[in-house]
Amino acid sequence: MSLEQLYQQVILDHARQRHGNTVPISGLPEVPRPPYFGHSHQVNPTCGDEITVEVERREEDGRIVLRWDGQGCSISMASASVLSELAQEAKPDEVAPVMAGFQALMHSRGQGAPDEELLGDAAAFHGVSRYPARIKCALLAWKAFEDALRQASADYPDENGDRSTGAGRNEED
């Protein structure tokens, strides 16, 4: 596989123009936290890169509001940006299959054909699955998102959200 297939233009573009990348409120004591809120800080131990993802469930309709910040390689930054685009204002049970699909794609060892309809821009990451050392990069934001969403959904009064995201206790850290 060529480098161009790994680093598709859409990845490089997202890495530069990052969707949803903004200062997280969890670090700002003066900002009050929304009622259905979760945040997760993840470190990629291989490289030391890190990301923080914050998720709110909008009170009125339960839809996702996502914020993130971090530093890392183009793949991790682009992946966070794409995730943000896909999840922003979505319902948790709309996002669940995307998350599962992206996970599966990353573990396909270059064999899987991405479902472009489901994954949108995230399909561009299919080349990453051939590079074991980079899979963690692509999944970093998603892992943080999953964790934050679980927290945000813990007390949100709809079973759907709970079921589809495997919500547990609200464990803020």
């Binding site: 470190v43 131990p45 291989t46 074991p132 050392a133």
Partner: protein
């Protein structure tokens, strides 16, 4: 069990045995009856290491380059293979330099936890003067001295389960010694001197009833019969590569995932931290948290090849063959005047005795016995076999120990017996 032809086939896989056979004038063989100390290596193990160095050698878990990816794969595949060999999960296998380090890792976990390190999850490893640590009278120094050190650090009491004259654990006394203040029950699965195989499940049940952590010294069991560590229910277990056809320089710690993640780190340095500044560090989950610095990578690959060789040969068949040899050795030795076996004199039930037999020759020091056997091409171990207090308990300072393995022949046992029978005649002449 094997037949003679199969043992010959197996012998051909071991370059050292073949080499010796060639060298010796008159075709005399080396009877290597010292596998209990360290085993010889089949060619497939040497080749696996060599192949690694020649094609895939690079730093693991670190580099982004292709070679590093391949090295990492080889390394983690090795972990999976060794984990599978003892029925464990991959995350439950930590590489060490030898079994001794693996046991020290657990012991220092207690020391560090008791000094306040390791955060709240290390609570169950914190002990003090009221606690006790229980070991057995038949422990190798590797499963004795580290617990003395824990006792010295924490003020805990060290208790010892006695061994009967027949060479078995006194289980009644064990039940009296393990109590609600017992933090650790550390015992060997099989004695490297007596050849006794201990009833691990029963000891684990005893420990669990009192919420004690169990630490199994599996150095002499994993090489010789099939061992499923999770099925035994032990919390931690240690074994060595070099005693199971693998390379020197590698050992294994098994730990139940839940405990391993809670144990404070031991060696600290690179590849085991998540973030660090100049004043503090946070640590990765197990197994990485215990694998500081560059690991014995080629040795892990070699050990995996050894585990594969053993599994393909069949642990049950190996165990049956060795039991057959043990019976022959025990019966033969007891017929020789002046020879006393230290340890069970016969196989009680299948699986309760290794083909590792220590004995005393009346009036002749073990080192002289060993020298005599060596002169006849028989390699045995003499001394206290790193179990000094156990020897004292049996009233000797040293014994001669013959230990068989899958490549040992009946003929070798017979040569041993015949030669031992000559010893007293020579020295008491």
């Amino acid at each position: 069990m094997f037949d003679a032809a199969e043992v010959e086939r197996i012998r051909n896989d071991f370059p050292l045995l073949g080499h010796y056979q060639e060298q010796e004038a008159g075709g005399r063989r080396l009877a290597y009856l010292d596998s209990g100390a360290t085993s010889q290596k089949p060619l497939s193990v040497l080749e696996a290491e060599q192949e690694f160095y020649e094609r895939r050698n690079a730093a693991v878990h670190r580099g982004a380059h292709q070679l590093a990816v391949e090295a990492t794969e080889a390394f983690e595949d090795a972990r999976a293979a060794v984990a599978g060999f003892v029925g464990a999960g991959e995350r439950e296998i930590v590489w060490a330099k030898n079994a001794t380090e693996a046991l020290n890792l657990v012991a220092y976990g207690f020391v560090n936890a008791s000094a306040g390190l390791g955060g709240p999850e290390a609570e169950r490893f914190r002990i003090g003067p009221g606690a006790n640590l229980v070991i057995t009278e038949m422990e190798h120094h590797a499963n004795l001295v580290p617990w003395q050190q824990v006792a010295a650090h924490t003020g805990a009491e060290l208790r010892v389960i006695p061994v009967t004259d027949a060479g078995r654990l006194d289980l009644e006394r064990a039940e009296a010694l393990v109590d609600s203040a017992t933090a650790v029950l550390a015992f060997t699965h099989a004695s490297n001197v007596l050849g006794t195989v201990n009833p691990a499940r029963r000891l684990v049940d005893l420990a669990r009833a009192h919420d004690a952590v169990t630490v199994l010294d599996a150095c002499q069991s994993v090489p010789h019969f099939g061992v499923d560590l999770p099925a035994l229910g032990v919390d931690f277990a240690a074994f060595s590569g070099h005693k199971m056809l693998g390379p020197t320089g590698i050992g294994v710690l098994y730990g139940r995932a839940e405990l391993l993640d809670a144990l404070p780190p031991f060696l600290t340095g690179g590849s085991m931290i998540t973030t660090v500044d100049y004043q503090q560090a946070s640590f990765m989950p197990a197994p990485q948290r215990f694998e500081a610095g560059t690991q014995p990578v080629a040795q892990a690959v070699g050990l995996a090849a050894a585990a594969r060789y053993l599994a393909e040969t069949g642990m049950d068949r190996i165990a049956a063959w060795e039991e057959h040899l043990a019976g022959r050795m025990l019966a033969g030795l007891q017929e020789i005047p002046g020879v006393r076996v230290i340890g069970p004199e016969e196989i009680g039930q299948p699986g309760d005795r290794l083909a590792t037999v220590a004995f005393d020759v009346e009036g002749v020091h073990a080192h002289d016995v060993g020298q005599f056997l060596d002169e006849r091409g028989i390699a045995v171990r003499v001394g206290h076999h790193c179990a000094q207090p156990l020897h004292r308990r049996f009233g000797v300072t040293a014994t001669t120990r013959a230990s068989a393995y899958l490549h040992t022949t009946e003929e070798e046992i017979d040569v041993l017996l015949g030669t031992v029978a000559e010893v007293r005649g020579f020295f008491l002449r």
